[in-house]
Amino acid sequence: MDDGLKTSSTRTAKRRDVAARWIITLGGVTVIASVAAILALIVGVTIPLFQGPRADAIPTVTLAPSNGKPIYTAVDCALSGGGMIATVWSDRGAIARVDLLSGKPLERQRLSGVEKHPKHRLQHVEPLGRGRYSLLWSDGATSLVEVAAFDVRQLAAMPADPSIKTPIVQAFLRRSDSDAFTQAVRYADGRIVVTRRIDAETAAGEQDTQTHRTVLHDQLVSRIAAMTMDRAGAALYAGTSDGRLIRWQFDDAGEPSHREVVRAFSDGRAVTALTLALGDVSLVVGDRAGGLSVWAPVAADGVQKLHRIHRLRSHDGAIERIVACERNKTVASLDARGIVHLDDLTSERALISVGSESSPLQQIAMSPRGDALLGRESSGRVIAWRLDLGSPEISLNTLFGRVFYEGYNKPEYAWQTTGGEEFEPKFSLTPLLFGTLKGTFYAMLLAVPLSLFGAMYVSYFTTPAFRRAIKPAVELMATVPSVVIGFMAALWLAPILERWALTFCLSFVTLPVVMIAFMAIWQGLRRFDVARRVENGYEFLVVLPVLVVGAALAVGLSGPIETWLFDGHFRRWLFEGPLGLPFDQRNCILIAFGLGFTVIPIIFSIAEDSLSNVPYSMTAASMAVGASRWQTLWRVVLPSASPGIFAAAMIGFGRAVGETMIVLMATGNTPIMDWSPLNGMRTLSANIAVEIPEAPVGGTLYRVLFLCAVLLFLLTFTVNTAAELVRQRLRKRFGRF
């Protein structure tokens, strides 16, 4: 009977055991599987960043020779439906549209400019982006037209100087935002004439046109082999046959205000093609040897000088034409053998290389969205490729290395992702990784000693009653939402900390000094019985006023010291004195307090638990052989509890690395790389929170932000794994219970 009962209850217990084991195993496996799934998900989003670009050739089409000789062919892709349309400009001043997929001609249109002088032929078409083209006619006139979906509109026209009879080599027309028109004409004898026309309305409402004509006299002019101008007509660039680059800058009236010549190639190779990349800052230079380089004005000693900022993949033959993409900093370059290279300026990545097998290409064009490339052979055959460039601006170097961005003085790590349409996005993750580690470092610097010593005191020195009260109180700190802490730190603590900056620094001196002095006095006082009774767990009652005295001393001294040593202004002295540190109100000290507030309860609680769990028998044995409390703690308790204490610190570290709201609100999210505790940082986690609303889903920024998440994961994963390994070793060595 008794036996039966026993076996039945054992059986139940066993059954429960098995069930529990399965449930726990299932739970554990689910947790691991979910973490793995999350990781796979975020890694999956980042993968397209590193996938190569694609170019798919579509069947070639031969343009029907009608209504004149083709001069220029543009290409555009329909947003939906996958259609691709070529726009052919003929020398008779007509444009015809051809469906590249079916080869069928679509509508046909005459250019409005041609109706005025039907005898003249179109000689050259230069695409300026956003549907604008600069045209050169056989009589030397230039015009600017805008091609919208269903009509062609002439924006401006300017005749050539009738007094010059020399043939024209190259000419174009530009229009600035303030409606100033600039025409640049290069004649066969080497002269360059720049004409600026400003249409203004007078106060009386009459049209007032001012024209200013300049002839650029230059001993180098005769050697010019290529020329280009920015879209506003403010800067003219030329390349010479002996490897020089010339830049003229024009003022508002159209007068050249600055001229600069740089020897671009020491071997004197000829410049054969010039184009300004999107944004009109970077000049892409193609040379006779097939080299492709990028130049931009770089400020040095207050002067802007052309400087080579990138070098792209070389061609095997001389570069004939360079075409800039209208969407990003990608350029297509065509060499004499008919090979087209696509390269990205920022990352210097070689994207795609395509070419025609039959006859060399005469002209290339890229679609406005950068999703198609077209090449026209002299025979009239047109080949086109559908492009998927992916994220051309991303490479390991742009993510982690220094990059020479346009407008910068030197290669830099920079994070600045958002700007206008012509913006060069900067995706360096180095400042973000740096910021994450910096913020965590200062937070741990404050939190680890405070919470560990706190835990030691509470678990080992103080009275049980006090311990019962203090532990939940500290743990209660963890319940304060981090958004509240961030808010308080940013708007309440920051101005206070700024005002009392010197006092804060002084307290690092006054507190220890006062404390040591107090301890010396205490040695004397220990003779009295009252004092010794205080030592049994009530030390903090005596130390508290001492700390108050130390703090008061710092407050009192800060005024006079600021006057004597720092010329009355501590922040200014920090900035201008030998340290040269700018004091920012949103700095790492603030973050140390903010993050510390969330991390301290975690570290304290776990460390206190592991200290209290050291068996009483061990401390009792230590005391019995005559060790002091401190000796017992240091030699017996701490080693035994070390795995737990280490784990506490590491969990705190993980919390600090991933904390978002406090850093988001209390720092300025400044992506700087500077270890100074007196300025801020931008962490990976806050960066994700700040930028994800701006990121178009599936775009480069979106994917880079997911890469930030992967990095954050890897960071915590490595630290936690390392910590676990260390903990295991510590446990093996010191785990005596």
Partner: protein, 324 residues
């Protein structure tokens, strides 16, 4: 009416400072903007997702519109202009308030989904101001100086400015380093300032990016060396909006809507609501009536109350044309 509190930093900060955000701003009344006429058969629900700058204004409009049509439910969410285009494209919002124009990629994404371009309706004027601490004696800045203060690329050609002495302050201000405050990149204000002050250059890394317009003003209010930019609607007594000059030869102009309208103040901008309207088809009645209300005398009165500038009558007329 329900106000959706999204768990975004901007809304949290904004919520706390909600009371400070609106400062009354005087602007001459215009008689030619017609009052709103209530029509029958308006009900349903409207979602608005977009600009943080327009968040308060949208809420006020929604409240007033709701008083006219108690059966209408309007939810307003404002995390930044960049959140409007995807919401409009996906159809999760019928109204997309934006403090800047859509970028071509954003319009493309919309067109890909719907087959037509989104319609842009101007609804109010904003005046971007540069704020300094109220004790700061700064007289004003030229745009080139502001560029030198905020930019590391300095496209306006000025020199680098990092101390108050470099913009003419004296005595103890002279050596004080300038402390920079700005918006985060999701904000239309960030993009606008970048384009119009930095000439599309880059911000310095030391600009402290704040998650909301009110947070910028509060940052400057608590930092004597601070300078920051934000809409004029967020002005408080703790900060001073400084006059700006287009260049060294132009006069310093106070930030005010009259100066925006006459083109003297360089940082005026239009605020928009984007909607999805099929060409040659009327839009949903609820959306149309809401926009008509916004463009009515009452709607524009709310604009003035919230510290923004109302549209001139002829602009309102042009916007009403777009609705048809």
């Amino acid at each position: 009416m329900r106000r959706t509190w999204t768990f975004g930093p901007a809304t949290v900060v904004l919520g706390v400072f909600f009371g400070l955000a609106a400062s009354a701003w005087t602007q001459a009344e215009d008689a030619t903007v017609v009052p709103y006429e209530k029509v029958s058969g308006v009900d349903g629900s409207l979602n608005s997702i977009g600009s943080d700058t327009l968040n308060n204004l949208m809420t006020y409009w929604a409240e007033a519109f709701n008083r006219l049509y108690p059966n209408v439910k309007i939810q307003v969410e404002g995390k930044g202009s960049a959140t409007a285009p995807p919401a409009l494209a996906a159809g999760t919002a019928q109204l997309g308030p934006m403090s800047r124009r859509m970028k071509p990629e954003e319009e493309d994404a919309f067109e890909k989904k719907h087959g037509f371009r989104p319609t842009r309706i101007s609804v109010a004027l904003d005046c971007l101001a540069i704020y300094v601490h109220k004790d700061n004696p700064l007289k004003g800045l030229t745009l080139a100086q502001a560029d030198g203060v905020f930019s590391k690329t300095r496209r306006r050609g000025g020199s680098e400015i990092n101390r108050w002495g470099q913009v003419g302050l004296e005595n103890r201000w002279a050596a004080m380093p300038i402390s920079l405050y700005g918006r985060n990149s999701a904000s239309g204000t960030y993009a606008y300032f970048k384009e119009h002050v930095l000439n599309k250059g880059d911000y310095k890394d030391t600009v402290k990016e704040q998650p909301g317009s009110a947070a910028v003003v509060n940052g400057v209010a608590g930092d004597r060396a601070g300078i920051g930019y934000s809409g004029i609607g967020y002005r408080t007594s703790e900060v001073r909006a400084i006059p700006l000059a287009k260049d060294a030869n132009s006069p310093m102009v106070e930030p005010a809507f009259d100066n925006v309208l006459n083109g003297k103040y360089p940082l005026g901008r239009t605020l928009y609501i984007y909607v999805a309207k099929r060409p040659n088809e009327p839009m949903p009645k609820l959306v149309e009536e809401f926009l008509k209300f916004v463009l009515s005398a009452e709607g524009q009165q709310i604009v003035i109350k919230d510290g923004y500038g109302r549209l001139p009558a002829q602009v309102v007329a042009r916007q009403l044309e777009l609705l048809k």
